[in-house]
């Protein structure tokens, strides 16, 4: 029986965001935008969806009088990412057979 691919993660930009955050402790919104080449508006929407799913933590604060948004993956996000990668590998394995 195949595991269903998590619809929250099975989207290009959201998966890119979580894949970036999995390897770092935390990252600023501007860093994620730089690495994903996404527009600020689109990224904002997808970050919000990941936050609502409980996959990432978003902290907003002021740094030198400028707003700063920092994102961090949560334990739930790590679990979901691992399950997603396992499911992907399962699909790819069957494709090879």
């Amino acid at each position: 029986m195949f595991k269903e691919l998590d619809p929250i993660l099975h989207s290009q930009l959201r998966l890119a965001v979580v894949s970036l955050l999995i390897g770092v402790k935390e990252a600023e919104f501007t860093f994620i935008r730089e690495k994903t080449n996404a527009t600020a508006g689109n990224l904002s929407v997808q970050v919000q969806k990941l936050k609502e799913a409980g996959y990432i933590e978003v902290t907003k604060q002021f740094k030198d009088n400028y707003p700063q948004t920092t994102c961090k993956i949560t334990p739930k996000g790590i679990e979901a990412f691992e399950a997603y990668v396992q499911a992907l590998q399962q699909y790819l394995q069957v494709g090879k057979e």
């Binding site: 998966l15 770092v24 994903t36």
Partner: protein, 228 residues
């Protein structure tokens, strides 16, 4: 990057791999700290070598330059912290290692300054003294002060430690190889007179910090240009 594009399983895996690589490959170290310490320690070591070898004094303790470098280092650290857009898991551990390294160097300096004087006093209290005796009796015996022989070898040994850890954790080969060569320089310095220890220490600072600093700086600037 569009969001709603349908991805195949292979595309998803490729995207994950690509993003993890991008996170890993982002250099937020500017290299300025490495360049600063590489420069001041190399200059101080080489000047000390020349002063001792050719018996002259430049008028002030050249190692004050190293002490003075703490101020720009604090400014650099604050600025780098402000401009860092990403924090990696290993950052806190590496910062702690470099802090401990700084404290150890400071402690070793204190040891070098305090212990000989204190030992002299204890020796005096016991009613004897250290004397330089020429085996061929060509010169008369002369009293000498206690000193820590070839202590700069220990500094060279300690230079390699945080450099090796950083090189291993960051998988940054210039620091990894620099540290390994420095361990070789430490062994070499055990067999040389103190003057040459300073020269070897200068070489250690050059390969541990200055050269990796130049490489880091180039990578950082190249990344900054790519982001423009």
């Amino acid at each position: 990057m569009a969001d709603e594009k349908k991805m195949t399983e292979q595309e998803s895996l490729d995207l994950i791999r690509n993003m993890i690589q991008k996170a890993k490959g982002s250099y937020h170290e500017t290299g300025i700290g490495s360049l600063l310490w590489g420069t001041v320690v190399t200059i101080a070591s080489v000047v000390t070598y020349f002063q001792r070898t050719y018996d002259f004094y430049i008028g002030f303790d050249i190692w004050l330059l190293v002490l003075g470098a703490i101020i720009p280092q604090i400014i650099i650290s604050i600025q780098e912290k402000k401009s860092n857009k990403v924090k990696k898991y290993e950052d806190d551990a590496l910062n702690a290692i470099w802090l401990v390294f700084g404290i150890t160097i400071f402690g070793l300096n204190a040891y070098q300054m305090i212990v000989p004087d204190v030992t002299d006093k204890f020796i005096q209290l016991e009613g004897w003294q250290l004397t330089k005796h020429y085996l061929d009796n060509t010169k008369p015996d002369e009293p000498i002060h206690t000193f820590t022989p070839s202590i700069y070898s220990l500094f060279i040994l300690i230079y390699a430690l945080p450099t090796l850890v950083t090189g291993m954790v960051k998988k940054f080969k210039p620091m990894l190889y620099g540290a390994l060569i420095t361990y070789g320089l430490f062994i070499w310095s055990c067999f040389t007179i103190t003057e040459y220890d300073f020269l070897l220490g200068g070489a250690a600072a050059l390969i541990c910090w200055f050269i990796p600093g130049v490489i880091l700086r180039r990578k950082y600037l190249a990344q900054q240009q790519a982001n423009v």
